[in-house]
């Protein structure tokens, strides 16, 4: 079979949703501060840490395995964790902006300097997380670090597909948050002022808009989105470690670049596509490769040659490599990302108007 299983498809969509939310946040802060925030993935892991602590302190004994009839109570974790993480991580991102980026930018530091500053903040945050997990003893889990968070998800069978609560929830959360963000940016005066402040900060100031406040809110929102998605992403992590962040940052950049780094809608689509490419795309490619080899083998057998051909590489190990290739291709073919492609023009040229 070339196509992956429905289980895997559900997993892919959930993963794509996480990436979409992370790319929206990264793009938002990029539009505001004009610097790629290398700490963005660690912000997401901070969100996952919120889930970890809630699990260890409150929800451990409520897990359906240990408590029958606690499902509803346990399900509140899926609501509480993202909300709490939204606030906490939003504040962490705000701190990054207020304590690190804004003072440096005001002193006239260029983009390279600011980029390195986000890296520095990333290391600080990473170390704070590691240290916290090291110092704070686990209450119910054997250890906080390396906790098998995946095992704390609640299994669900839907239409014959074995999946889990978090995987079904993630796309819904992504859609809800994206729609909410869209409404905020287009329907509220403050949201419009945020777009205005991004496009032309001086003009916004001249009209009496507090641009600084708008930027602070953007950072808070970006951190909040990272926190909320990270809190649910926690259930997809095999075993929890702060350094898990370093794997996903590549994908976040890939999705954001694909989205053009200039529009939250581009980021949404870019993140989702990278998520799918890294999962379903990879599996399909792998299967196609196998199919091709099988055909080749049959052909050779027909010609009287008896050889056995097998694929020895598992592409899934090269997940990030795959997204890096996508980034390179995008930068070569459409440097402005998806948002920069003139789709109407393309359609018109193809006579499909």
């Amino acid at each position: 079979m070339v196509l992956p299983s429905p289980e895997f498809l559900v997993y892919s969509i959930a993963y794509g949703s996480v990436l979409a939310l992370l790319c929206i946040g990264l793009t938002l802060t990029y539009m505001v501060t004009k610097v790629p925030n290398f700490a963005h993935a660690t912000l997401a892991i901070t969100g996952a840490t919120v889930t970890l602590f809630l699990l260890d302190r409150i929800y451990y004994s409520l897990h359906p395995v240990r408590c029958h009839g606690c499902v509803v109570q346990y399900a509140t974790l899926y609501l509480l964790a993202p909300i709490l993480a939204f606030i906490i991580v939003g504040l962490v991102a705000l701190a990054e902006y207020l304590l690190v980026l804004r003072p440096l930018a005001r002193r006239g530091m260029g983009i390279i300097g600011l980029m390195i500053a986000t890296l520095a903040f990333d290391m600080i945050l990473y170390n704070v997380l590691s240290l916290t997990l090291y110092i704070v003893p686990a209450k119910n889990l054997s250890r906080l670090m390396d906790a098998p968070l995946k095992g704390f998800d609640v299994g669900v069978t839907l239409a014959g597909v074995n999946t889990s609560f978090s995987r079904l929830l993630l796309p819904l959360v992504a859609i809800t948050l994206a729609v909410a963000l869209h409404m905020f940016l287009t329907r509220t005066k403050f949201g419009v002022s945020l777009r205005a402040s991004i496009e032309n900060p001086d003009l916004a100031r001249v009209l009496g808009i507090n641009v600084d406040l708008a930027y602070m809110v953007s950072w808070f929102l970006a951190g909040g989105l990272a926190g909320a998605s990270g809190a649910l992403w926690a259930f997809m992590i095999e075993s929890y470690k702060p350094e898990t962040a370093y794997f996903i940052i590549v994908s976040i950049f890939a999705g954001s670049i694909l989205g053009g780094l200039g529009s939250v809608y581009g980021a949404l689509v870019g993140g989702f596509l990278i998520g799918l490419a890294e999962t379903v795309g990879l599996v399909i490619t792998q299967n196609l490769l196998q199919l091709l080899l099988n055909l080749l083998q049959q052909l050779l057998n027909m010609l009287g040659l008896t050889v056995t051909l097998t694929v020895t590489v598992t592409l899934t190990q090269y997940q990030r490599f795959f997204s890096l290739i996508i980034v390179i291709v995008v930068l070569l073919v459409a440097p402005q990302g998806l948002a920069g492609i003139n789709f109407r023009g393309l359609l018109a040229r193809g006579g499909l108007k």
Binding site: V192, S193, R195, A196, E199, D202, L203, A204, R205, V206
Partner: protein, 239 residues
Amino acid sequence: MDQPILAVNSLNSGYGKFQVVFDVSFNVYRNEIFVIVGPNGSGKSTLLKSIFGLTTIYSGSISYMGKDVTKLPPHVKARMGIAYLPQTDNVFSELTVRENLMMATYTLKESEARDRVEEVLKIYPVLRNKLDYKAKSLSGGERQMLALAMTLVRRPSIIMLDEPTANLAPVVARDLLKKVSILRDEMGITVILVEQNARAALEMGDRALLMVSGRVAYEGPARSLLQDAELGRRYLGLR
């Protein structure tokens, strides 16, 4: 004369380390049209930006209605009743006309904002049909009208107009300058006007400032500058 509405004292300002304005002082009094003229690149726009706090100020002070506002952030100055029409990038091109006007009335209450927008749409009816278009799809002249509407909609006490007639057809430009007099006469707005068309501006202005290479070359009655053959010929192309 009484207390100036705006007083600039020994202002030195520029962009980062690049100084553009050198030791500029002048007063603007309530209900007058104060014209600023000077060759291209002499620092007129930079002076207006500095008054609003959008440049780096090295020394000097700016006071508005007797209050020192030198260090106040721009959005606070805007809320105090100072309005400014920048020479370039004076509308949000990615926002619709409606959203642009919404931003221009940002500091007002909802109901008041709606009335004021209605008011300026009467003055610039072209905009009414384009409310849901992005500003970048407007023609140069329409965009300038939108920018003007955005400056006037808050009914400021003092407005600084940086070449408001740029991009406008000659007839419309003349009409606009006439409207500037109306602003002063009927609405009691004080106007600082930077204008390329020196003759027209000086004819309608009360007092004037001539800037040359970032310094004040003349400050006084607008008429006298118009009649000063030497300055007029050298810097303003007047015969």
